[in-house]
């Protein structure tokens, strides 16, 4: 990972190592372990959960004027909204990954078989013209 610095470029390597460490220490971890920045969908879910918590808690307080119960509703709202957004986002993320994988495989096949009898486009055009 850290190769010996060449005579012409010691600053670049130092800067890249420093920036690597800085970027690691800059990542926000909720409760010390949930890396919100680098986990897909986490930031989105936590933000919507916080919004849901404020809306639910404040709304309940406006209707009932009960502070303690409103806090409980707020916490419950946070958990439910976060979970709901999380599963919804992860489901879409999983679908997107599958589509990316299919596209990647098809691109590879096209590059490999272009011009040959196994070319998927030739098969498709042949079947449509028939």
């Amino acid at each position: 990972m850290a190769a010996a610095p060449e005579p012409g470029e010691p600053e670049e390597r130092k800067a890249s190592c420093t920036s690597l460490h800085l970027s690691y220490w800059k990542s926000l971890k909720l409760l010390g372990f949930l890396d919100v920045e680098n986990t897909p969908c986490a930031r989105h879910s936590i933000l919507y959960g916080s919004l849901g918590s404020v809306v639910a808690g404040f709304g309940h307080f406006l209707f009932t004027s009960r502070i303690r119960r409103s806090c409980d509703v707020g916490v419950g709202g946070f958990i439910l909204v976060t979970l709901g957004c999380w599963f919804h986002c992860r489901y879409n993320y999983a679908k997107q990954r599958i589509q990316e994988r299919i596209a990647r495989e098809e691109i590879k096949k096209k590059i490999l078989y272009e011009g040959t009898h196994l070319d998927p486009e030739r098969k498709h055009n042949g079947s449509s013209s028939n």
């Binding site: 690691y24 409760l31 372990f33 949930l34 986990t39 916490v75 976060t82 992860r90």
Partner: protein
Amino acid sequence: MAHAAQVGLQDATSPIMEELIIFHDHALMIIFLICFLVLYALFLTLTTKLTNTSISDAQEMETVWTILPAIILVLIALPSLRILYMTDEVNDPSFTIKSIGHQWYWTYEYTDYGGLIFNSYMLPPLFLEPGDLRLLDVDNRVVLPVEAPVRMMITSQDVLHSWAIPTLGLKTDAIPGRLNQTTFTATRPGVYYGQCSEICGANHSFMPIVLELIPLKIFEMGPVFTL
């Protein structure tokens, strides 16, 4: 490899590891929410002025805190079992390598296309070149092709060892008298490090594993093969 003070998982180099990272994120989010709820309950307990000495039962609450954890466990178990069965799939490997653990080095055997057997010792600090990694680099790396399914047969010649590469999501025990099998398909070239993961004596921490993954074309024409 891991960088200094790294706590999280390394970037994935195989599809199984990608799935493991996704599952890890899923479980961590559930853990976070449970911890949040528990911290809130603790806060309420510490700040309440209510004292009730005549509680006899709380059937509804007990029902909720029995059923809810069961549902949470099912939500965690289903993806976990999916990945477990995925790791057991053997998808027609194109290459088989044997890895034999010794005290305190690894022996690798490429016997598919000829006989190549070599030992892999950790480079002692005195023999390190500038840029080499202390306690991680070895004299002979395991060279393998990228995007080709590889089967590793792992065993030991003396005591228990464990052949582990975190970035590939691999950890398989090397047990004397037993042959364990693991398969993997690497998705990107590079040099990947692992360390023995089963206590095996004084130099247990000093028998690393280094995998060098190269494109298949270069692998086929390289000096790894002896025909």
